[in-house]
Every structure is written in structure tokens, then in C-alpha cells.
């Protein structure tokens, strides 16, 4: 769905960290960022109707989601995690076809592009379908092949096959194995998953210590909390992205720091399902790398990273005082910490970094006045101000238009009719 195909792109006069600069990118990386940068012959010169006054920032990294679940937006609200999963979500998913997953993934990627997200860390079924959607729609991601014991040997083998088939195939689309959680995956599958991941220098993505019940049941079964049990198995390492991480103590966080695990904080899902508040102060004090994710649309019910990071910040302030999680740290959580976790040389607008950028309309009312740009971005803005999204040096949204959006919306509406009550 790439809108521009020329090899180099030049953007003149955009606000970056309080100064107006020109930006040039070529072969997917920034080749010039500064006042004296000029276009070269043959460059595509970026022009927007709103180009009068724009800021350039690193786009968001959504570090935990289930993209295709966008088809379940609003399907089951106002209930706790296990009822919600067992009685609503899993029966719904049992009826999903591969083509439904394609449609749900397209809808999710469309929503993410429109809300300024350039990367998502996914965990779902029919991974190859979402891989192809992402390949076509032009943003980044890490596609997680879900592993759960009770899907049976055959599907587990097929899952490893999919992982092996797609891992290493694209620098834009990374691969992970995603053992769902300690309550759905036993020791054998955990070990095989991390062994496979490490063989391929890929990633491991899972839910961790999301609810009190999960921790309680794990202690009952294994005599250890989820963090301690996974550490004992040798699962935890710098290739791990652990989502939620609500019910942990300082010692467990020290283990995670030691192992280099990245935490994906999902404040809205944790509230909506009544899982609990993130222990922001203890996590910051631990020195762990923190990132932010929206979780799937059935527990949120959108994929809006701006809203997510505002909630992360506000809840932290209510629980730990207004000085905690200052806005620049919140922006890092939502952007460059995600890039760092995946070893992507991105998350910043700098020469040599991958050419991902979000252009923001500074004439949008939410950015007026502008004493503190990051404060407006996190605490005041809405997606309407996100004018243009660039991934890998290519424009994927321009003046808020994304290729194929009418077709994606129409297909999603049609496809969901079978679930209407």
C-alpha cells in the first residue's frame, strides 16, 4: 500500500525538538536532518496541504496487541478476564477463518497507521496472514506465532513451521514465538519455544503476571510465581517481551532487569478487565526497559497509543504522585524503548536511523498553545492531528488518507455480520 515509491524523500521545514529543520531520507534511513539539508536531484519533495506548520516525531511502537481481534471491538465488555476469555472471546475466535484474520488485521493496521503507530508487536493465530497484510500495508511489526498446549500436537508443529518459514525473511517484519502464558503453556513447550527463538535470534512474546489468579495458580502448581518459574526454566532473556507484568514484586523486577526482559505495559486493558494497576514506581526503580501496548481491541477497545500512554501517565500520577513518569519519559516508553527492545535502529529522527516519522499538524487545536510539545502530544492530542506517517522512508498515510481504507472498512463491516447478536 506504499504511496510513494521514489527512493529518496525530502521534507522541508518541520519542527524537531523546538527547531525547524529539513529532513532527507533514502534507502529507508535518514540521510540528512538539519537546517542546511537540501534536496538532491530526483528526490520526491514532500508536500502536504497542511505543510505550513508541522512537527516531525518518531511514531509509536505498540508493544503488545492482537491485531485481528479488532473484529471483536465492543463484542463483550464489562466482565472480568476469565469469564470474558472463556465464554465470549474464545468461542468467537473458534469461528474465525483465515480470511477473517486478514480482514481484522487490515482493519487493525489501518487504525494503527491513522493513530501514528509504525510498529506493532502481535500475538495471534494464522500468523502468515497478518505477515502478508503487514508486508502490503508498509509498517513494521513483530509477528507472534501463538503457542498453547491445548491446540494439539499437529497445530503446534504447524506453528513452528510457520515461524521457521517467515523468520529472517524481512527486516521490517520480525518474528516471534508467543507462548501465551504460564497457565496455558507447560514446561516442554516453553523450552522448545525459547530454544527455537534463540537458534534464530528472534523474539519471545508472552503474557506475564497479568492477574492475581494467574500468580496464585502458578504458585500452587509450580511452587513459584510466574516470573520465578520462567526464570528457573531459562526462558527469561533480552529477546523476551513480557506483556502486562502487573502482579510482581521488587525481587521479580530485579530478575527481569538482570535478564534484560522488556516490559509491555497495557494500562487500559489492565483497568478494563480489572486486572490491577501497574506498579509504576517499582518498575521505574528496577531499571527495566518499559514500553507500552494497547492489547487487543476487545479489552481496550481501540489501538490508540496516544491514549494508552496518557492513561499510563495519569494512573501513575494518581498512585505515586504527580512528579512520577514525566512526559519525556512517557514518550520514550511509547516510542524508542520499543525500537530498542527489537534491536531496530529507530525511534529517533536522526541521521543513520531508520526513516520512520510522524508529521503532526501544529495548527490542530490540541497543539495550541505549544509551551511543551511532548506534553501536548501525550496529554492533549488526538489522532486527527497526525497528518502523515512515514515508515522505512515511504509514506503510508498522507493528509490522513491511507490507501484502500474504504475497501478495508467495507470488508470488515460485511465480515462481522455473522457475529451480530
Amino acid at each position: 500500500m506504499i504511496m510513494s515509491d521514489s527512493k529518496a524523500l525530502y521534507i522541508g521545514h518541520v519542527l524537531l525538538n523546538g527547531e525547524y529543520v529539513n529532513v532527507r531520507m533514502e534507502h529507508g534511513v535518514f540521510t540528512g536532518v538539519g537546517k542546511d539539508v537540501k534536496p538532491e536531484p530526483g528526490d520526491e519533495i514532500f508536500h502536504s496541504d497542511l505543510m505550513k506548520n508541522m512537527a516531525i516525531v518518531p511514531p509509536f511502537y505498540n508493544m503488545h496487541t492482537h491485531a485481528a481481534m479488532t473484529l471483536l471491538r465492543g463484542y463483550a465488555d464489562d466482565m472480568e478476564l476469565f469469564t470474558w476469555l472463556n465464554e465470549h472471546i474464545w468461542p468467537f475466535e473458534a469461528k474465525m477463518t483465515a480470511d477473517d484474520i486478514r480482514i481484522g488485521s487490515e482493519l487493525a493496521v489501518l487504525e494503527m497507521i491513522k493513530s501514528g503507530t509504525v510498529f506493532f508487536n502481535d500475538m495471534y493465530w494464522n500468523t502468515e496472514v497478518t505477515w502478508k497484510v503487514l508486508d502490503r500495508m508498509g509498517i513494521r511489526g513483530c509477528m507472534g506465532v501463538t503457542l498453547i498446549d491445548n491446540i494439539g500436537e499437529e497445530r503446534i508443529e504447524a506453528s513452528f513451521d510457520v515461524f521457521e518459514k517467515y523468520v529472517g525473511r524481512s527486516s521490517r517484519i520480525l518474528m516471534s514465538l508467543a507462548p501465551h502464558a504460564v497457565y496455558t503453556v507447560g514446561e516442554k513447550l516453553w523450552l522448545r519455544a525459547v530454544e527455537t527463538v534463540r537458534k534464530h535470534h528472534a523474539f519471545c512474546h508472552f503474557h506475564l503476571s497479568e492477574t492475581k489468579k494467574e500468580v496464585h495458580d502458578c504458585v500452587k502448581e509450580h511452587g513459584l510465581s510466574p516470573v520465578r518459574w520462567l526464570d528457573k526454566l531459562g526462558v527469561l532473556g533480552p529477546d523476551c517481551i513480557a506483556a502486562h507484568v502487573v502482579h510482581v514484586d521488587a525481587e521479580e523486577l530485579a530478575i527481569m532487569k538482570e535478564r534484560g526482559v522488556t516490559i509491555a505495559h497495557n494500562p487500559i486493558s489492565n483497568m478494563k478487565l480489572s486486572s490491577g494497576f501497574f506498579r509504576t514506581k517499582m518498575v521505574i526503580d528496577s531499571g527495566c526497559r518499559v514500553t507500552v501496548g494497547t492489547d487487543g481491541c476487545s479489552s481496550n477497545n481501540n489501538l490508540d497509543m496516544r491514549e494508552e500512554v496518557k492513561c499510563a501517565s495519569m494512573i501513575a500520577k494518581c498512585n505515586y504522585g504527580p512528579e512520577i513518569l514525566p512526559v519525556d519519559m512517557a514518550v520514550d516508553w511509547a516510542t524508542k524503548n520499543g525500537a530498542e527492545a527489537f534491536g531496530i535502529n529507530g525511534g529517533e529522527i536522526k541521521v543513520g536511523k531508520v526513516a520512520d516519522a510522524l508529521l503532526i499538524d501544529l495548527d490542530n487545536e490540541r497543539f495550541v498553545p505549544c509551551y511543551n510539545f511532548n506534553s501536548n502530544l501525550v496529554n492533549a492530542s488526538s489522532n486527527e492531528a497526525f497528518n502523515t506517517l512515514i515508515c522505512d522512508g515511504k509514506i503510508v498515510m498522507k493528509d490522513r488518507k491511507v490507501k484502500d481504507e474504504e475497501r478495508i472498512i467495507a470488508e470488515a463491516k460485511e465480515c462481522c455480520k455473522k457475529w451480530m447478536k
Copy 2:
């Protein structure tokens, strides 16, 4: 700033509570809502580029804000209430001119219109300036004349004069006296305020039990909590809108219910300033009328009622379980309960009600799929889906365009230069 001036407006084929209807309005009230409603000769027929697929809903009531403080958006973040007020907000405000307040009010009304708000309950200085902005820009409000002891006798007299001059002048723009809080207003001024309000059948708007410190200091000074002290003075009644109401017990809520006080819940401000979480369960159990407000832009930092009510709902679920505050109740808090509090025959799309309406683009990705419209509205949407706003039978935003917006943005930017650090 009214865009349409014909006396009757007809809107064909819009989704209302799951069914497509036609809607007609005349002289500021709905005169027809149903499948068989037809336009009459001379009616303006509403047409939008997006008219293919729209829903019609009651717009939001922002029940506690300080509109002109939009000029302070992002000026001082990440600090607690008293430092924030004393060292940043009040010194800033000391430099505000009447024209700054006009500009700030226009910016606020613009932002509220663009986020689907049709009414705001204001509390600020130079009330007549904001009154005139509202008169011109076409939405509803209740303009609160702020009273604080330490502004001195002369300004207090002038404040009562402004109230007396504007009260009863418009059915669209109501008036209140706004004794700021128990820690800034003494017995004499509280009594004079409520006596004046009651003589004119107007309203009384104040901050109440926002912080622990406020409660502690009030008990120390008066031997009673803020709710009990105000009740002893005879302040509390059905004409009172009390903002925040965080640090209260069940007995105090029973007093407020008995007196008919309306609560304006401000979840984001309470989090950002670390004031505390609203006691949602206790408040619902009390039977008090609950509404929602954004507070001013310096403690939020926007005026987005959709975001506010989502936060109210998510926090409640985290603190009290996922079943609390179901989405239809959340919508009532953010819409018709506000109308009810002010005796406005509105907050619903029904024949005979005031003709206020928000038209929502159902082809926006946040409304796809649509198993539960209210869930999408509260939990998923963003202001970009709010296509058209109608107040009192007149269009104030059409296809997301508001009259004068470029001029308002330009003036606000220019005006705020003097506060840039």
C-alpha cells in the same frame, strides 16, 4: 458563528438506537424523529459529504471546566495541586487580560465543538467575556462568576454585578455564582452567593472535597468536613454542581443525595494532580446524580469528554471490578445527566427535546465493527469521527469545519507568545 440560519432543519436516514430514522427540528426543538418523518417546504435539508452512514446521538455535557485556561495547556505539568496553583497557575493568570480570556474561551469552545460537546459548565474570571464568546459561537453553557475572598470587596461587588446583569438573559447561556472552594471562600461569601443564586433561580458551582488536604484543613478550621460544613451553612441544594468530590464518605454522599446536589466527576484532573480516585461504587450506591467534566486544560490537558468518560469507566473497573459503570450508564453521565442538572429539556434525541445533536461517521475505523454503538463511542472513538454538531437546531460544526477556526488558532498562538519560557 452559526452556519445555518433557516428556521427548520431536516436530517434524513440517521442511525438512532439501532434503527435508521429521519429527524426534523424547528425553533430549537425536535419536531419529528422516526421512519415516517418527512421534510416540510422551506426546510433546510442537511447534507454532508459523509452523509452515507451517520448515527445521531446527544452531544456531551462538560460539567466542570475553566474554558479560558486552555491558554495554559501544557504550561505546568507533573506537580501536585497546591504547588501547581500557587507557583504556576495563579501567577500566570495574574497576567491575563480580558482579551486573553476572550481568546482562551474561543479556543476552548472550538476544541469542545470539535470533540462533540454542546454544553459546558464554566468557572472563571471576566465572565461577561466568555458569555459573549458563547453567544457568538452557538453552543450552550452555564457561566460561573468566580468568588474568592482575597480578591477584595470591590472585585467581589463587581462579580455580583456581572452575575445580576447576565442572569436570565438567555435560555442557552445560564449563569452561576462560583464560590471557588471551602479553603478560599468564608461563611459570609458562601451565604451571600447561595442567597443571590436562589433569588434568581440560578446555579451554584464549586470545587468540593478535591484533596485530602482540603478536607483536613476544613475539619481543623470548622470542625466539619467540607460537605458537612457547607450543609450546615445551608449551601447544598439542587441548584449546586459540586466538582471533584473525591474524599467523601457514604454519609456525606447521603447528605448530597438528600439535598439534590449534582456531582461533576473529573477523573483525569484528579489523577494528574494526584488528588485521588473517585469512589465510584459508593457514589453510584448513594443515588446521587453523577456527571462528568474535563476540568481546565492545565490539569488534563484537553477538553475531550469522550476521553474523560472512558477514563472514568476504566478507573472504576480497575478499582471496583469490570461490571461497574456499564457503558450505557457512562453515556448518561456524560450527556443527559448534565442536561437534567441544569433543567435543560435535552440530552436525548426525542420530539419536544431541545434540538442538540452530534452526527457520527459510522465509516470511521473506530466504529467498525459496531456490535455495541455506545461501547464504540466511549471506549473506541476519537473526535475525528464526530462529523457534525447541532445546537438549538443550528449547525455549529459541519464536516468537522467550524466557522472562524483558523482565526481563533492564529490569535491563540500569537497571544501565548508572552508566556513562552
